[in-house]
Amino acid sequence: MAHEPALLGIFSYLDDLLEALRRVKKENWKILTVFSPIHFSEIQEIVGHKTSTVRYLTLIGGILGGTSVVGLGVYAHLSFKLITSGKPVIPPIPFIVPFFEGTILLAVIFAVLSWVLKGRLPRVKLPAAYDPRFSEDRFGILVAYPEGKRETISKLLKDAGAEEVRDVSG
């Protein structure tokens, strides 16, 4: 994950973590990643993530799915004309159901693929900074430090309440 020298601060308390994040942000240090056992919107807000592109990709999937299933249906009906009394070969009303199912199917597949790929998954090796406690009850911040600034950042993390600060290389 980190190809530049970085410090990992491990926190027990959420408010300490948020405080550390705010300070790191305020002092313009580079946050490489934040680890947490669950989703906290405050973390996302402080880190400053933009709106997830997952929603646009899901929309594209939905449009693709609906149109392709209806396209397949139209092609099928034109290839094998089942003419029953005066009924149209391509009936619009019954096609709503395949359109709906196709839309949902591909939208969901795109949503899942996009969160996996946007989250930079799947990966064989866990990030070097990862600590198994992050899936339990601990939080972590990985902050890159420029040359000569290690101690400053280390002090900042400790002051904010980090129970452990350690170096993480590339």
């Binding site: 056992p37 669950i38 929603r55 009906h77 395949p98 199917l105 949503a111 996009s114 969160w115 090796k125």
Partner: protein, 445 residues
């Protein structure tokens, strides 16, 4: 969940993944025998032909279709609980959502099996799949059977993906606790999840979207299943109330199955701290609502039969209540519409034994309902010359029992090898450790 912290949640839920007692293997082995027997009977049917079943004109949709509709119905509550209640922010869904989702996946798998079993020549099932082929035959996209194929396959795919998405952070937690080969397996399925801000950001957006997309799907799937019947002109099938009636019935049966599975699960794994009586009570209250909708639907069906003045409709509904399968009809009415009303009494819905008893009664009632609608309507249509009864034969009965064994078998495997309660979502309902403002610290103070 009072008094639990993040560590407790991991410990409580992941301890169920440890080595099970001997009785577990015994039950799993017994269920496997049931599945094997079902598979043998299906093989026998393939080699001998569908004549070994009670399939005989006019009852061309036999117990297999009853099972299909029953299992699709069971599959409904999982997505209802995980998607719809998620959007409504109903907190009581959290401890039960994972098991309900697993139940959904297994129930759809089993439901999807029955059209194949009913097909007879199962090896040519691919004829229904639309693709350019040398036969120059294409399935008819106006047919409710194609709707059904699309709806069930979509529902299955969506349910699996939704379930799996929720599982990923928990699989990572299981990976971090496991050793040896188990660590590798959990690690493989956790996809290398590390709980980074980036991962949570996209994951959160996707989960919300999945819930939003799955919600209309829940309503559509059983509506489509109901159109298998409603688009036919048979009296007893041809009704416009079928879609909402079937959807309510599906949710009713699904919720009952959730209670049937979760009460023993809670007892066996000592999940009393996580799956509280209040959560089970909320399921029971929802069952009252669906039970009332079902009861209303039964009344409306009779009203329509009377008010329409259609003699065929009238005789079909009289036949249901007083004819050959009247016993099944009254079982259906009592179990689905009357028994859930006992949940109006707090004493009934806060006792485990009464919760479980009524849930099992609803399951029986919903199976009876599928039987009454599917078998009963076909047995007596327009011309008395065309009437005839269906008698259940041992082959379809064995395959049906096999399907119940398969369902329980898969659920037991799930409960033992995967976190049966969502660790991440339970944690979201707990106040995290905060140093300041007098919140509790690591020692629970």
């Amino acid at each position: 969940m009072e008094g639990l912290n993040y560590q407790d949640v991991n410990r409580e839920i992941l301890r169920t993944l440890s080595r099970p007692p001997r009785s577990y293997y015994l039950i799993v082995g017994f269920l496997f025998l049931g599945i094997l027997w079902g598979a043998i009977c299906w093989t026998y049917q393939i080699f001998t032909g569908l004549g070994v079943t009670g399939l005989l004109h006019p009852s061309m949709w036999i117990l297999y279709l009853v099972n299909f509709v029953f299992w699709v119905g069971i599959a409904h509550s999982g997505t209802l609980i995980s998607a719809i209640l998620y959007l409504f922010r109903a907190k009581w869904r959290t401890p039960i959502a994972r098991s309900a989702e697993a139940m959904t996946v297994f129930a759809v798998m089993i439901a999807g099996l029955f059209p194949f079993i009913h097909l007879g020549r199962v090896w040519i099932f691919y004829w229904i799949i639309p693709y350019p082929n040398q036969r120059t035959l294409w399935p008819n996209f106006q047919s409710p059977l194609i709707f059904d194929f699309l709806a069930i396959s979509t529902y299955f795919t969506v349910s699996v993906l939704f379930w799996y998405t929720g599982l990923v952070p928990d699989l990572a937690a299981a990976r971090d606790r496991a050793q040896g080969i188990r660590r590798k397996i959990y690690g493989f399925f956790a996809l290398g999840w590390a709980g980074t801000d980036r991962q949570w950001h996209h994951y959160g957006a996707a989960y919300l979207l999945l819930a939003g997309l799955a919600t209309p799907l829940v309503v559509s799937v059983h509506s489509v299943v109901s159109w298998d019947f409603a688009l036919a002109i048979i009296p007893g099938y041809h009704s416009t109330i079928f879609a909402p009636y079937f959807v309510a019935g599906a949710i009713h049966s699904g919720l009952a199955m959730v209670l049937t599975l979760l009460i023993p699960l809670r007892y066996i794994f000592h999940f009393e701290n996580i799956i509280t009586l209040r959560d089970l009570e909320s399921v029971a209250k929802t069952t009252v609502l669906t039970g009332l909708i079902i009861g209303y639907s039964y009344l409306v069906e009779y009203f329509i039969a009377w008010y329409s003045g259609n003699i065929f409709e009238k005789q079909t509904f009289l036949f249901r209540a007083f004819g050959h399968w009247a016993f099944m009809f009254w079982v259906m009415v009592f179990c689905n519409a009357v028994a859930p009303l006992f949940f109006f009494f707090k004493r009934v819905r806060t006792r485990l034994w009464s919760l479980l008893t009524i849930a099992i009664l609803i399951n029986i009632g919903m199976y009876a309902e599928r039987f009454v609608i599917i078998i009963g309507s076909m047995a007596q249509d327009f011309i008395p010359y065309n009437w005839g009864f269906y008698h259940v034969r041992w082959v379809e009965l064995s395959i049906t029992i096999g399907s119940f064994c398969l369902f329980l078998f898969l659920f037991l495997l799930f409960a033992k090898f995967l976190p049966s309660i969502s660790i991440a979502e339970i944690k979201e309902d707990i106040t995290p450790f905060l140093r300041g403002k007098g919140k509790r610290d690591h020692h629970g103070a």
